[in-house]
């Protein structure tokens, strides 16, 4: 008789082996790769992690960055447009970027015991429409999420149009619409998408002020990029003016009574081929509701501030990537009971190692720590999280990717002061067609 734990262990071991040693047969390419007849690795280390070329692709208005040879003429953006392949639906749309996953989770909450859950589900299913307006410098990008987090919930986290000018070496762009913070921003460590299923805590933590860094605000954005010959160095700066968030933390998509705009700025330096550093800042304000729905409900205008630095450095002939990041938060906060003004301060950081065993196979591990300090609280509290995982492309082009990961997170809630811990195991497979 095999015990339940042993069965789960064996199932996980088999799943891990299938992912790592599984078949490499199957190939198809999503829209951008289809357009140029290239593999996913041209722009990703392993999807979805963008490399330097993927970053430049977005900064140049969704055109493949040309070679920047020493003492050769530099192409204008319009030259890139004129060399584009014929516009077709196939090279502008991907209808099935889907993730199927198995996840098991065991959570323990102080005073409430433990609960276990597991699910096999369609984790996500997205459709993308992105490309260029033929014969012009205009570009567009839209993402429709049909399934997210296992739930059918149609959303449009990206829907913007932009214009790019200048040359491949010195370019600028402007966009308007809804844009995920990730788009065209950030070197490797500042990317929300990583080899592991969960993003660093500093991007995903929702504090008492209902603000989460990983969001898709509506607004206008502009950026400038300069690249040296052979892309040895790339400098990029990007700024956004956005609507901000509703009281519940959701993005304001239409009219609202909030009479201020939020500002996002980031500056990036890529050092060839794949190392880099990013500085990020966000300054905003939101109408924060406390005691929502109760007779003593009140609203105040909380200032939200974030400043951070993220860097990565590749060693060992581009096999080992060392990543780290730090984000400081300083938000206005009012105690729900006393309405006394104060602050909610966070200091979060992570360290991550990615080992690219060979093309299409990588091992990753990350440790996250987030310290939270609330005015009036008994003491600062801490959240900690670690994850280890393996990611394996199952096709030569890299459009089908399998991943397994295990993790543990534990910490204390900064308001209720209750401790909780969660252990997770995830195995997923992502298809991009």
């Amino acid at each position: 008789m095999i015990s339940r734990n042993r069965f789960v262990f064996l199932a996980c071991a088999v799943a891990s082996l299938l992912v790592i040693l599984g078949p490499r047969q199957a190939s198809a390419v999503p829209q951008y790769a289809r357009r140029y007849g290239i593999t996913c690795y041209a722009c990703h280390t392993i999807p979805p992690v963008l490399n330097q070329q993927g970053y430049m692709f977005q900064r140049l208005g969704h055109h493949l960055p040309p070679a920047l040879e020493v003492s050769k003429p530099v192409q204008r953006i319009l030259d890139l447009v004129r060399k584009e392949r014929e516009w077709t639906v196939a090279n502008n749309a991907s209808f099935a970027v889907a993730d199927f996953n198995y996840s098991a989770q065991r959570s323990t909450q102080e005073g409430q015991g433990s609960t276990s859950t597991s699910a096999i589900q369609v984790g996500s299913w997205n459709a993308y429409f992105g490309g260029w307006v033929p014969d012009t410098n205009f570009f567009y990008f839209a993402e429709m999420d049909i399934v997210a987090g296992g739930e059918t919930n149609v959303d449009l986290p990206n829907a913007h149009i932009g214009y790019v000018g200048g040359t491949a070496k010195s370019s600028w762009y402007g966009t308007v619409g809804r844009e995920h913070l990730q788009i065209a921003q950030g070197t490797r460590a500042a990317q929300v998408y990583s080899l592991l299923p969960s993003a660093p805590l500093v991007f995903e933590n929702t504090g008492p002020t209902n603000f989460v860094f990983d969001q898709s605000p509506v607004g206008i954005a502009g950026g400038y990029t300069w690249a040296s010959s052979k892309y040895k160095n790339i400098f990029g700066i990007n700024a956004k003016l956005t609507n901000g968030d509703n009281a519940d933390g959701s993005e304001i998509l239409g009219a609202s009574n909030k009479n201020s705009k939020d500002i996002w700025v980031d500056a990036d330096w890529w050092y060839a081929p794949e190392s880099g550093i990013s500085f990020v800042t966000y300054q905003g304000k939101k109408n924060q509701t406390q005691n929502s729905g109760l007779s003593n409900e009140f609203t105040y205008n909380a200032r939200i501030r974030r400043e951070g630095v993220f860097a990565n450095y590749m060693i060992g002939r581009d096999k080992v990537d060392l990543l780290g990041g730090y984000l400081h938060g300083n938000d206005d906060w009012q105690d729900p009971a006393t309405q006394t003004p104060g602050t909610y301060q966070t200091n979060g950081g992570f360290g991550e190692v990615n080992y690219y065993v060979w093309r299409g196979l990588a091992l990753a591990g990350r440790y996250d720590r987030l310290k939270q300090d609330l005015t009036g609280a008994l003491r600062p509290t801490t959240l900690e999280q670690w994850q280890v995982g393996a990611e394996r492309a199952l096709t030569p082009t890299g459009n089908i990717v399998g991943r397994i990961a295990a993790g543990n997170s534990h910490g204390v809630d900064p308001i209720a002061f209750t401790g909780s811990a969660t252990r997770t195991f995830e195995a997923d497979i992502q298809f991009s067609f």
Binding site: A26, E69, A98, Y231
Partner: protein, 204 residues
């Protein structure tokens, strides 16, 4: 209840889509992989070693089919590899570039040359037939398609009605500056055959 039905519908639809796409993906792979590999066991040991570098580096971004099918002069390949070194995220250093060039030069003068000679010998005096095979031999289909076969992003159907023989020769040997097409180093006889074939691609 409605949510459960919607969820099940979404799951069924996604599984159906997955099955259909998976089938087409496997079919594509069969075609792709056949174009990707060549047998280098008869090549000298040092060239076999160069081939490994070529296969590893060049397949990172674009697969090998285009490089294994296209023909270029040594100067043409040198310029092309230099261009690749100057791309973003390029992981080709000078030493690796040298190894790649050695393989390409050897492959050009042996396998590709033998293939073209065989085409010429087998097709006798039918230039458009030889030209059609040259079209494949020179790797034109990695960027162009005819009747939906090849890279459909740049279809050549009807080009025989739009261009004269002289124009086609000029476009092949020295494309206009700014064009994505590289200048092709093609012997005169092969050029005649290619143009003869292209002239048969008339508008219907």
């Amino acid at each position: 209840m409605r949510q459960i039905v919607l969820r099940r519908l979404a799951l069924a639809a996604s599984l159906t889509a997955l099955l259909a796409l998976g089938t087409s993906a496997v079919a594509q792979f069969g075609k792709h992989s056949a174009e990707e590999k060549i047998n280098v066991s008869s090549y000298p040991a040092n060239i076999q070693s160069n081939y490994k570098v070529f296969a590893n580096k060049c397949s990172e971004c674009h697969g090998l089919a285009s490089s294994l099918k296209q023909s270029r002069s040594p100067e043409g390949w040198t310029a092309e590899v230099r261009r690749m070194q100057a791309m973003a995220s390029s992981h080709i250093n000078d030493s690796e570039a040298g190894e790649i060039l050695k393989f390409l030069a050897y492959d050009e003068s042996h396998r590709k040359a033998a293939s073209r000679e065989a085409i010429s010998a087998n097709t006798g005096n039918a230039p458009e037939v030889a030209g059609r095979q040259m079209f494949e031999s020179y790797g034109c289909s990695s960027c162009h398609s005819v009747a939906g076969v090849g890279n459909t992003s740049s279809a050549l159907d009807g080009i025989g009605s739009k261009r004269t023989a002289e124009e086609l020769k000029r476009l092949i040997v020295s494309p206009p500056s700014g064009s994505t097409m590289p200048p092709m180093s093609v012997p005169d006889k092969d050029l005649e055959n290619l143009v003869a074939y292209l002239l048969t691609l008339k508008n219907r």
